[in-house]
Symmetry: C2
């Protein structure tokens, strides 16, 4: 049985971190909600599901149902060959993923600082203040950390394409690629400014983009374009 | 060598989820910053640390340095006997922990919806709007999910003290205890209202509170009292 990914069919959102891992591994999977929008509801609402996810994205692998994008990647990593075999590498890769997920939440909250249940238009002044702090303080701080761990990874010495953990592509690399993509889409000016101090992050991004399977995926219809319903939204008034 | 926990010495914060696990297991550990406030800085700032955490809390176990509270619990869980042995149980426990951590972030942001770097006093109107949504929509939704998974855990049938996963105490149970403690401290009115629909969550909370080691910990000076520098803050104007 192929893996089933359940996620909103019209946005990249948090599902994209899982899609990129499945695509990079070249395994068969079904992006269920793009064919059948109701299937997701069974897992979210049906009392018969013993271990229901709190929210999409979630993965169905046979009888297993796994929610939380970082937990999905923790589960898939060894199965897809997208994480090292040593426990220390697995925990470190996961730690990086969780840190990256924290920034993703902060990016989301920059256009929804008051409530996810309200429209952006109902929280614009608050969004402006939050985005200012995000771009001035938070994004540079996170990028500096990613740059530092790329610098300190001894396996990156003398290599054109650096990796976050060891000498091989991991799901954390794919997620960092997606983060850079998203920041560039949402905040072109601020992202350009911030990336100047993160050359290794940019080199990693370029390396992932050239990966044969990822390049094919990005050029396909399976890649949903960025839009203003997702996490990374282009609202020029927020790009300080 | 005992485990070293590095976290801010004056608040419970995210470090508390780790403290509770160490305390429940009865293993020796050092809460480093309460004796030596500078030791933390080495791991955060020194270029010689190959895998630095982004922020506290972090655990030092010999040569390993592990950040992100959920990743620390993922690592400690099997070592402390606070998670099942089956992979499915370990991933499910972690998924619960990550979902709980999402709510913890939302609680934090209810008093800091604009920026962590600003004082609460500089974002009070925004905090009021966000807290309203948190207490009306988000806390009830999360508590309903915890209640549902407690109901659906077949091992809880006929037991006075339910568990989130299987029939044994896990680190997720300890974290849910702490979440209830925090909500009661920060929002006594809203927490009382919301708990009425979550009797199993309350029974779990009461069970953890009676755990011999946890009871001893809570009565000791090692338990830092809640205060208005932590995640759960009592600002009566936010308790709608």
């Amino acid at each position: 049985m192929p893996y089933e990914l359940h996620y909103w069919p019209t946005i990249q959102g948090r599902g994209e971190f899982v899609r990129l891992a499945l695509e990079a591994a070249g395994v068969p999977y079904v992006d269920v909600a793009r064919g059948d929008a109701k299937a997701m509801q069974h897992y979210l609402r049906d009392d018969a599901v013993q271990r229901p996810p709190f929210a999409p994205p979630f993965l169905v692998d046979g009888k297993r149902v796994i929610g939380q994008s970082a937990a999905i990647l923790l589960y898939l990593g060894p199965r897809l060959g997208l994480v090292g075999k040593a426990e220390a590498d697995q925990v470190w890769t996961h730690q990086i993923q969780l840190t990256l997920a924290d920034l993703v939440t902060e990016v989301h909250d920059s256009h929804h600082p008051v409530a996810s249940s309200l429209y952006y238009e109902g929280q614009k002044p608050e969004a402006k203040r939050r985005a200012q702090d995000l771009l001035k303080n938070r994004v540079p701080k996170f990028l500096a950390w990613f740059e530092a761990i790329l610098q300190r990874n001894p396996r990156n010495a003398g290599r054109a394409v650096p990796h976050l953990v060891g000498g091989k592509l991991s799901y954390a690399d794919l997620s960092l690629f997606q983060l850079v993509e998203g920041l560039r889409y949402a905040f072109p000016k601020a992202a350009a400014r911030a990336s100047k101090k993160a050359p290794l992050v940019l080199a990693l991004h370029a390396g992932v983009q050239r990966n044969r399977r990822i390049a094919a995926y990005l050029a396909s219809e399976r890649r949903i374009p960025f839009n203003e319903q997702g996490i990374f939204r282009r609202y020029p008034e927020l790009d300080g």
